[in-house]
Structures are given as C-alpha cells and as structure tokens.
Symmetry: C2
Amino acid sequence: MADDGNGFGRAAAKVDEARLWQRHVDMARLGGTPRGGVRRLALDANDIQARALLAEWARPYGWAVAMDDIGNLFIRRPGSDAAAEPVLSGSHTDTQPSGGRFDGIYGVLAAFEAMEAMEAAGIRTRRPVEAVVWTCEEGGARFPMGTMGSGVFVGRTPLEKARAVADYDGITVGAALDAARAALPGVAHRPIGSPIAGYVEAHIEQGPILEEKGLQIGVVTGIQGSRRFLVEVEGADAHAGTTPRARRRDALSAAVAMVGALERLFHDDPSDTVRFTVGRFVVTPNAPAVVPGHVAFTIDFRNPEPEILRRLGDQVDPICQANRGQCTVIVTQTSGGAPVHFADRVPDAVEAAARGLRLGHMRIFSGAGHDAGPLHAVAPSGMIFVPCEKGISHAEAENATPADLAAGTRVLAETLVDLAR
Amino acid sequence: MADDGNGFGRAAAKVDEARLWQRHVDMARLGGTPRGGVRRLALDANDIQARALLAEWARPYGWAVAMDDIGNLFIRRPGSDAAAEPVLSGSHTDTQPSGGRFDGIYGVLAAFEAMEAMEAAGIRTRRPVEAVVWTCEEGGARFPMGTMGSGVFVGRTPLEKARAVADYDGITVGAALDAARAALPGVAHRPIGSPIAGYVEAHIEQGPILEEKGLQIGVVTGIQGSRRFLVEVEGADAHAGTTPRARRRDALSAAVAMVGALERLFHDDPSDTVRFTVGRFVVTPNAPAVVPGHVAFTIDFRNPEPEILRRLGDQVDPICQANRGQCTVIVTQTSGGAPVHFADRVPDAVEAAARGLRLGHMRIFSGAGHDAGPLHAVAPSGMIFVPCEKGISHAEAENATPADLAAGTRVLAETLVDLAR
C-alpha cells in the first residue's frame, strides 16, 4: 500500500498529542462548569459556538465547511477523485446537563486532528475525508430525541418530525436550528443525506473495561439495543395535612411503587447485563405541603439481546398499570433501537491499524448508543474506543489521558487513510 | 350587651355576600391560572399587588394601613380606647404553586368584610380591630419556611433568620421584602410584634367534614402537630447505558426504596389519622440517560398526638439510612410544631356567635397548619371554618360557595364585636 505515497504509519506519526489536548481544553470552555464538567446542550449558544470554533480552525487549511438542514456540520478535506463518495468521521459536540469534557467532542476533535495529520504528512487520498458534527446525540439532555442529526441524515427520522421536537421549555428544534443558522452566516448550506463510503467514530469507552485490562484501543463490533419509555402518572393535587390516605390519588406514591416493581423485574443478578435506569423524574406541583397530582418519569432500558429487550420491555406497561393505585397511568415507548452489529470492513480496518501501530487492543461491544448506530444503516461503519477514568461518563468527573486520546486518533488516522484509498 | 349600641346580630346583618364574593373574584385575578386556580407565591409580584389592593380598598374608610419588617400588613379600624390592645383577624394572601381561590385569602377578606359590616352598622368597639395579612404562610411553596410572618410576629422566629431564607432560585426573603417595601411606598411602617388582645382566623376547612355533615360553621378547637423533614441522597452520576448495577450509586433508586419503606412505616389502616406526604422530589441532573447522582425530597408528617409524632418521626432517619444502598443520606428536620389546643375564650365566642345566628355548627380540629397556631402563643386565639367542595384544597379545583363564605364572615363579625368590647 506504499505505492501511493501513503505508507502505513505516516499519518499516525503526525498526530500532535499536545495540539489535540489543547483543542479539548478550548472546547471545554464552551459550557464549562465550576466542577470541571461541561454543560453544552444541543443547539444552545455554546453548542453553536463549538461549530463556529471548528469552522475557524478549518479556515487556514482552506477546507470547505457546510451545514445541513438538521445542523450537522461537515468539514471536507478533498480527495484526488472529486466524484468519489467521502469517508466520514466525527461524533457530537452536545453534552449531558452535567456532562464531561470528552464524551462526543473527542470524536470530533480526533477526526479533525486526523485530517490535520494527513495534511502534515502530505498524504493524498482518493476519497474526500470529512470531519462531522452530528446534531443532538444526547437524547433527553435537552430535546427528547437522541442521535437526532445522524438519524435524519440516514433517513430514519423525517426532518419535519425532528424540527417539531420541543425542549422542556417548549423551544422547538426548528426554532433552535434557525437561530444556529443565523449565528453561522459564513457556513455554506448542503442538502441532507448525500451518499458516503464509510464512517468511523472515535469515542471514550464510557465503561471500565479497557482501563481494567490496560489496553488503549477498543475495536468496537456493535452497539447494544435500547427501548426508552415515558411514564405519566395522573392523580389529584390535595392538601397534605387534611387529606386521608384513603381519599388520596397520590401520583408520587404510585410512581414510587411502579419504579420499585420495575427494579425488581429488571434485576438480573448475578449476570448484571440489563441496564435499567430511571434518570428523569418530574413531580407536579412539587410542593412539600401538596399531595402530588402528577409525575412523569423516563425509563432507559438497554441490552445486547433482542429477546431480552422484547420480553422485559413488554412488561413495562403491565407493571405500571398494576401499581397505579387510585391514579391513571399512560406508558409510551419514546424510542427503540435493535442491537447493531457492524459489518467487518471498518472493525477489521481499525484492528489492523491498532496492530500495525503496536497498540494494545481488544474487540468490544458498546453499552452506550452512538451516531455510528444510525450510520451503519447506510455505509460500512465502526468505532474506536479509548479508556476513560474508572469508566465514569455522563458526569462532570469524566476524564481521559492525553496519551490515550492521541493513541485513538493515530488509529483513526490510519483507518481513514485505509478507507479513503 | 346591647347597652353600648352593639346589639347581637347588627354587624352580621351588614355582611354583604355579593361584595365579599366580588373581592374574591378580584383577588383571584392576581396570579390566576388557566385552570381556574391561583399561583401567588409569597412576596412575588402578585402577592405584593394583593397587599396594594387591600390598601386601596381601605382608603375610603380612612383606616390606617401599616406593614412590619417581615411584610405582615395591618389595616386598623380604631376603637374608642386608643390605648387598648387590638383584636386581630386575618390569614394570608400567598398560595401553593397551583393553589386555589380561597385558601388564605378568604380569612383576609372575611376580616375586611367584617370591619366594613361594623362600619355599616355604626358599631363602636372599645378595642381597635385589625385585618391582617401574614407573610408566607405556605411553607415550601416558594420559601421553605411556613407561617413565617406570624412566626416572626410572635417571636418564635428571629427576623434575621427569616430574612436569610432563600427560595429555590436563591432569592432571599430579605431581598423580596425590600422589593415589596419599595413597591408599597404609601404604606406606613410599624415595628414587629406589638401586644394584641386576641386573634380569630376564618378559613375554608380544607377537609370534607363540614360538607358531609351539612354544617356551615366549624368551631376550631386546635391544630394538629407536624414534623417536616428534608432528605438529601447523594450518589454519583453515571452513564445509563454502560454502568452495571453493581457499580452504580443511584440516588433515585435509593430514594425510591426510602419512600417505599417510609410509606409502610407510616401506614395506619384502618384508623388513617397519620398524614404522611412526600410532596417535593427533585432529581439531579434529571436526564433520561444519566444514573441520578442526587435526589432531595421532603416529608410532611402531621398528627394530633404528640406520642405518634415522636415515635414515627424519630424513625425517619433510621429508615432512610437502612435503605441508602451505596449512597449516603442526610436527614434534616426542617420544622416541627406540637399540636395546638386553643384556650376556651375564642372558640366559646365563635360558638356563641354561630348559635346566636342559628347557623349549623360543630367543634372541629384542624388538619392543616394556620397562622392561628403561632398566634395562640401570645393571645387567646381561634378559628372559624367554612365548608369547601369535596374537601379539596392546595389544588386549582378548590371551591366554596358565596353563601358559606358569607356565613363564616357573619360569625367572624359577631365574634370580633364580642372580643373587642
């Protein structure tokens, strides 16, 4: 493969660990929290500013920057064949409400760094390579729809459906997108969903396995499936001091009974492979002296096995109904995704790159959802994991080392050179 | 008692049912909600406006209007003996976050109407009579301290302690009071806690008993005791898709276990006299894909029996500790009040007035807390209850009839004439 001047390892050798780290530091200022985390919600001012900063970094290279109608941002390094479908790499710039400095943004910065490394190495690829920011990956952090930008890109979600989604303050994605568009006047427009040749996403593992095994690279083979539910419990507001229990329709009491029963159902010791989380729980009117008349809570349920997803997920509604007491309850499945198994092409390329660079690696299955999930439906896709401290993620304490971030980026650079030949 | 020209029934005869109802309608506009309730939180713009409106209504009568340092408002109808301690009557203008049109405001408007009726009847009392608005009766609706204004008035709570209390947005009572002061430039200032001769408070029952028995008047003999707690559960934020249950420190899961165990402890079928409510439950970061790292919830526990208050209340902390799982928990008792038993003077006067007016009445114990609780520590105090529809209160559906409100006001007017002789 050396005949095109792109001999193995030349791109990796130009990955600049200090520059990559500094870019993480710069991005972490956009929405940085006092406790060292990041709060950069999808399409908020900081998330838009992150796009502007990337566009600024691209300018010295003369790389074209474009945004599509769902706010996905693309930075294009041309290939020698202008008609060839591009290879994409990226992730997301949005975070959880009290998120960390690496989830998502690492994949974007790694893609950008890989393109810079190719440039520094003078590598010519046949296909264009694009660094991409997918809009609103973090479902429910602001808008209750995850992998929104990638989902629209691949045609899984109609654009108008995504634009109609409202955040908890009633602001729609459409309104937020229009504001983003206005704030980025120098960024060109491009249509949604042009064909691509492949997709690779670098990401922190968000789990403890690589750290525990002392390996720098996870060759991701797939993503576990998920079902998410919204449970709305309706009772009646009442006076806490005067209303006998027999006359109460206490929505919190019913919701607590439901969560308790669901936890028993989803308990799977000792295997502990079922992921069941009630992460959002909103009480109305939420006043100490009022028996609550309304509770809404979310269920995030994930598993690698379709059969377990079906069997346990189908019991959510009956369990809630059985524990509603004097209240009524409506259970809605808000999203669901089958487990993803990546085709061999990208994982094999990632593995070959890790081996070639003599980096400790293993095949690994992703517990978290990622934009690579939707992308896998339209092109060979895969992911590269690097360790994060104690497996902590979706938290301000999230941490990763400059060396591990650079190692993953070296593997990414070589993988992109391979895929873009 | 007719020798002073104040013969029984003359004040009651001048109570104007239509005027009293219209004043309720006018007040319900201040913070009125689309569903027919009222949201007028302590010292918010509507609550200040309610004081301004009362002052405006007082002006034609030439009655002095004054406010003390905790925002309690006093409207004074003079007596023949300027040196005599006044008799007070009133309640509060603040509501629950989604409260009703009668809780609190009825007692204020009934006192004002009773003074108007005395005026119309040409009744002279020896003692001054004052209609009073007590600041922030509804604990936790905005500021986490109930019967604040009356508590400061009687010396139970130091002014500076009350001023330092902050709402859920961090705004202190002190800052809100300064804004109220500035918004009411025409209202005189007066010192806190001058001596009083007695206190009578009219209020909707907030329970179903009078309605069920077909009686218009409750002669309130006391108020049940209460203990309120704040429970703060600390775990660790974690990724919902990747973190095994064995590694989680899920604050919501622990809080749900605590509430479930507490509900079992406080269950007292068939007597159903224990009032146990978790009314406020706040999850952080409250995002669907994040295992919650923090939950804070309140417990409102009330009972007429000191022994039950002690025995069950003392088990709150051990029960929470036993159910904390991998989290830590801190339980704080935020307030507590022993049951109140009013001295005979005022209940006897209320009962005599109801009997004299031939209104169906009964002695009744209050499940809800009221400003009459603190007042009872410094002067003979009591209350008059009127029915409310289905006993519903602390809810937008709260309702009462013009006829019942007027009947309670007639009893109040005669009681005030009696106490102010």
